[in-house]
């Protein structure tokens, strides 16, 4: 029976506290956590509570249990708003949420929460040293949300539901004007419009070809060096050729 096991079963809170801090300092966060879990409630409201709660939260963070780390850091920064560590805790709470954000193609509840958290941090601590990292994380998450919307809109084109694709890209372009996927969105919107036009009934073909052409113009106006130039030009050639039939 090791000393650790004995202390775990011990009822002496002080002994647990000492060992927990020793383990925490030596980087054995997993074992420290089990002790912190036991003693944290009894130190709430006591002077050492501030120290323990911070270590407790950080131990979760270090063991990559971000879900609990986010919770405990937030609890810390709420309980000790005047602490020296309050800013760091607020940041790490937001960062833990950031770490929980899943890949773009899954539910983005955590991403939205993380963005909110980061924004609150940025507002509360405008001169923080963590500012640039917080901004970088917020940007990354917003890009993720943009990618999600972009990929869904693009999928409608793949599914040959061109109208849904065009509508989705319209919404995307107006909702996220500064997105890094703007160029891609314009190109794929043109692609969907092109596909809709060339598969169109005769009566609506001219209007649809013109819509695709107009998106081409927008794409080239904002992105003169676009990586999609070649493909877009190819479609444009077909569009112009088809449009000639209507001008006669």
């Amino acid at each position: 029976c090791s000393e650790y096991q004995k202390t775990l079963k011990n009822t002496d809170v002080k002994a647990k506290y000492d060992l927990a801090e020793e383990l925490y300092d030596s980087g054995d966060y997993k074992r420290a956590l089990r002790l912190f879990e036991q003693i944290a409630p009894s130190y709430v409201g006591k002077p050492q509570g501030e120290r323990i709660l911070y270590f407790f939260a950080d131990a979760y963070y270090q063991t990559e249990d971000y879900y609990l780390a986010a919770y405990q850091f937030e609890r810390f920064s709420k309980s000790y708003p005047r602490s020296d560590k309050a800013e760091e805790a607020a940041f790490l709470s937001a960062k833990s949420k950031f770490m929980l954000s899943p890949k773009y193609s899954n539910d983005q509840t955590e991403t939205n929460e993380a963005i909110d958290k980061l924004q609150i941090f940025i507002n509360n601590y405008p001169s923080s040293d963590y500012m640039s990292e917080a901004n970088e994380m917020a940007r990354e998450l917003r890009n993720k949300l943009d990618k999600k919307a972009f990929e869904v809109a693009k999928q409608y084109n793949t599914l040959s539901d061109y109208k849904a694709s065009i509508k989705s890209f319209e919404l995307f372009l107006s909702d996220s004007p500064g997105s890094i996927y703007r160029e891609d969105a314009l190109f794929y919107k043109m692609t969907a419009e092109y596909n809709l036009a060339v598969n169109s009934i005769y009566a609506r073909m001219e209007e649809r070809l013109s819509a695709a052409k107009s998106t081409y113009t927008t794409l080239l106006k904002y992105f003169p060096e676009t990586k999609y130039q070649k493909d877009a030009d190819k479609m444009l050639a077909v569009i112009d050729n088809e449009l000639q039939k209507f001008s006669k």
Binding site: G45, K46, Y104, S105, N106, E151, Q155, T158, S160, L171
Partner: protein, 839 residues
């Protein structure tokens, strides 16, 4: 002590004294306030009121007040006086059985440590009174006392006395003033309040005031349905009798019978009066029926009903409002105006999905029937929910369509589908003794696999999931027998269209034991290797619940010194099968794939091999006369069946093994099958499943004969164990397994069954339903013998349990009414265990 104060003067906090604490440490309370000695503080001011609010929110104190004890120059000394709420230390419930008291403590959350306030006591009392009243204990009395608990500081014990008395039943319901409707009709209309009666089993007699009030209005509805628009309850009285019963007296005024007059539509632009009249289905001169009118406009019991509201809702008019107004009532005729505000048609803007913590977006979005830019149609929303449920990745009971941001001015609306991931993997791991040694089985089935993440170690949580693919692996091995199988299904090959691609590989090895039976003799073996590739496509015509599928399968049988009874007339050789299967199927069952409530499902399929005998030039009829197929001895001389040399080739015996090998070198056959299932919701959740099945196996070349493979085995649970010969076990309960076919299997069969199903629970963790069935069917050896009405009948009862981790488990007890094996008495009772079979 009074100290005069300037309004909001700034001080330094010199000290904070806490008084009135009982169980808390003074320091703890100071920490709660968040105030620190030495900080600046305005008195009176915002900080103090914030602290008070904060303390109140803790729900720990019944009184909180601040006082200034003294002021010394810039310093202010405060006193915080609090009164702690007592905490609950123990609950004692009297008047009930022990088990029930535990439940109550749990339900009413009478936890140790709760703060005991007046409202807590009142709430608990009301909760208990309601709980028992709802069960029919109308005379329940609840008394709650608190006594200080001396063993703990500031704690109280709660003593709850519950006296439920006896259940109160309804002895008599008496109606006064009813002439047009009989007492019985009125009693029937009261759905929840019933008279005490012997044999009343489903709906026990009890009196619950809320339900009784509802019943009074359904009583009036019964009149309204018959045209008595003015019917009303004049008065009703409830009289308590001494014997725990009550008498109810209801006097009604029926009024006159009315008829519908003119029904005008006002405000309709999208549809003509004629269109709407047709949907409404009520004509001038019909007996007035207020309930029917309401239902024809909007039937709340049927969200997808065929009423006027849905007529609009299914064509984009999300914002439409329909309101019937009585414009005149002359004599017995009532004229109506149906006022319609159509609003703009709504189009979808953002269509989103939330809750897909595992399943990737593209797997879900491709199944959505509502897309951005489309016209809003309620039926498409319902259909989406139904189809998402059928995918099996989500909890079908928890799918929710949420209409958000409806904008009547712009004519747009967003919709968000909330999904909850469900366990969709099955694992089978078992070991046991049988067949002369240890048999181990490992089966894995992942229904929402992601093959592209197979080599991405981050995706293993615990296996790569989320792309909607199915991957199944099964390994079974013992000393003498091994089988491996692997299968993979991608439901949307290429991601453009719902083209399902499937592939499977399997290999089975069997060995004879060595002479001492200790080991397997690898030289005596029977090996089957198979590969199957299939493609299935959802059709757009006649409608998109149809599916056309193609499959190509190849099987190789390798036999070395191994006599396979029945199937192969040789013990050394090979046999191969190459077959193409084409099937047309339709499945529009809904909503829950485990327990369909309606719709139908059918498959018609044909499987056939190339017609080798057409062009290979072998004269199968005369093989036995061909010198090449006669028995020979080691020196090449012809012999007879006993092994004696013969003079002439004609006298030599035919070499059956060689003939068999020639006939089975490449299997030649065709097979046609039909299976249909219809589901119909009868009453409530009671569902009728009607099923019909038919199968026929034939040969192109009658001389070559029908292959001993691919045959039908009718009778029993219908579970396929190991199908080395492509056999098909057909379920027909009430008879032993395969008992209705001969030993080698039948070439033609038909079967009909009717099954009533009723669910006990349809929760995600376990779906359970009971069933009762009638079945009939039979198998025949050739088309000439086929007689569709010469059938074996059975009836029985059973239960099914579906749990995501185990699949389907069930047991059926069935009685076979007809004799089998040429006997002349009924087969009698059979018990069938159903494992893993989905439907």
């Amino acid at each position: 002590q009074e100290t005069s104060l300037d309004k909001g003067k700034k001080y330094i906090l010199g000290g904070l004294e806490v008084t009135g604490v009982k169980s808390y440490n003074e320091q703890t309370v100071v920490t709660f306030t968040g105030l620190q000695i030495g900080q600046e503080i305005t008195v009176p001011g915002e900080e103090i009121s914030k602290v008070i609010t904060k303390l109140w929110n803790l729900n720990l104190f019944s009184d909180i007040s601040f006082f200034i004890t003294r002021v010394e120059g810039e310093k202010v000394f405060l006193e915080l006086q609090i009164e702690e709420l007592p905490t609950l230390s123990d609950v004692k419930i009297t008047g009930l059985k022990k088990k029930k008291t535990d439940d109550i403590v749990k339900e009413a959350e009478l936890k140790k440590g709760k703060k005991v306030t007046e409202s807590f006591i009142a709430n608990t009392k009301n909760y208990l009174l309601n709980k028992y009243k709802k069960q029919g204990y109308l005379n329940t009395k609840v008394l709650i006392n608190t006594v200080p608990d001396t063993s703990e500081a500031n704690a109280v014990k709660m003593i709850v006395n519950i006296d439920t008395d006896e259940k109160v039943k309804v002895k008599n319901i008496e109606f006064l003033g009813n002439e047009k409707l009989k007492d019985n009709q009125l009693k029937k209309a009261m759905k929840n309040t019933k008279e005490k009666q012997f044999g009343r089993f489903w709906k026990k007699s009890k009196f619950i005031p809320e339900d009784y009030d509802t019943d009074l209005s359904t009583l009036i509805d019964a009149y309204k349905e018959k045209g008595y628009r003015d019917a009303r309850v004049l008065e009703d009285s409830v009289v308590y009798n001494d014997d725990h019963t009550i008498d109810i007296k209801i006097s009604v005024e029926e009024g006159d019978r009315y008829y519908f007059g003119d029904i005008d539509f006002v405000g309709n632009a999208a549809y003509t009066d004629n269109d709407l009249s047709r949907v409404l289905g009520i004509k001038k001169g019909d007996v007035y029926n207020g309930v029917l009118l309401r239902e024809r406009i909007a039937d709340e019991t049927k969200p997808d009903g065929n009423d006027i509201t849905n007529y609009y809702q299914n064509t984009g008019y999300l914002f439409s409002r329909i309101n019937p107004v009585e414009v005149s009532a002359q004599n017995d005729t009532i004229d109506f105006e149906i006022r319609i505000i159509e609003g703009k048609p709504a189009y979808f803007n953002n269509v989103t999905v939330t809750g897909n913590e595992r399943t990737n977006d593209h797997v879900i979005y491709r199944n959505l029937r509502t897309r951005p830019g489309q016209l809003y149609r309620k039926e498409n929303v319902f259909r989406t929910i139904r189809e998402l449920g059928a995918l099996g990745y989500f909890d079908a009971e928890q799918l929710s369509p949420n209409i958000i941001n409806p904008d009547p001015d712009a004519g747009t609306v967003d919709i968000q589908y909330g999904v909850v991931e469900a366990g969709s993997s099955q694992i089978e791991l078992q070991g046991g003794y049988g067949g002369g040694g240890f048999i181990g089985t490992l089966g894995l089935r992942f229904n929402n696999f992601s093959i592209k993440n197979l080599f991405n170690k981050d995706a293993y949580k615990p296996v790569p999931m989320g792309d909607g693919q199915t991957l199944a692996l099964r390994l079974q091995a013992s000393k003498f027998y091994q089988t491996y199988s692997f299968s993979f299904i991608e439901p949307w090959l290429g991601g453009k269209k719902p083209v399902q691609f499937s592939t499977s590989l399997s290999r089975t090895l069997q060995f004879r034991p060595t002479a001492d039976y200790r080991d397997a003799d690898k030289d005596q073996r029977f090996v089957i290797t198979g590969i199957n590739v299939g493609m299935a496509k959802r059709l757009e015509w006649p409608d998109d619940t149809f599916q056309l599928s193609h499959a190509l399968s190849y099987q190789h049988y390798d036999i070395q010194n191994y006599a396979v009874g029945g199937l192969f007339p040789f013990s050394n050789g090979t046999s191969q099968q190459l077959a193409y299967t084409v099937a047309l199927s339709r499945d529009n069952t809904f909503t829950n794939p485990i327990f369909p409530m309606g719709g139908s499902k059918f498959v018609i399929s044909a499987k056939f091999s190339p017609p080798y005998s057409l062009f290979n030039g072998v004269d199968y009829a005369n093989l036995e006369n061909d010198p090449d197929y006669k028995l020979k001895d080691a020196n090449g001389n012809f012999i007879d069946a006993e092994g004696n040399p013969v003079a002439s080739v004609d006298d030599a015996a035919a070499d059956e093994a060689k003939i068999g090998q020639e006939k089975l070198k490449w299997l030649e056959f065709y097979k046609v099958k039909f299976q249909g299932d219809w589901y119909k919701q009868l009453v409530g959740q009671l569902v009728l499943r009607t099923n019909a099945e038919f199968g026929f196996l034939g040969a192109y070349n009658q001389e070559r004969g029908v292959v001993p493979f691919e045959r039908f085995f009718v009778g029993g649970d219908g579970l396929g164990n190991y199908a080395l010969d492509g056999r098909e076990n057909v379920q027909l309960r009430g008879y032993p397994n395969n008992s209705l076919s001969n030993r080698d299997g039948s070439t033609i069969f038909n079967k009909f069954s009717m099954e009533l199903r009723y669910p006990i629970t349809l929760k995600q963790t376990a779906s359970i339903y009971t069933l009762g069935f009638l079945e009939a069917g039979n198998a025949f050896d050739s088309f000439d013998e086929y007689s569709p009405f010469d059938i074996k009948r059975s009836a029985g009862l059973g239960v099914r349990i579906f749990m995501p981790a185990f699949g389907l488990l069930g047991i059926d007890f069935a009685y076979g009414f007809d004799p089998i094996y040429g006997g002349n008495t009924a087969n009698g009772w059979e018990t069938h265990f159903i494992i893993g079979q989905q439907f």
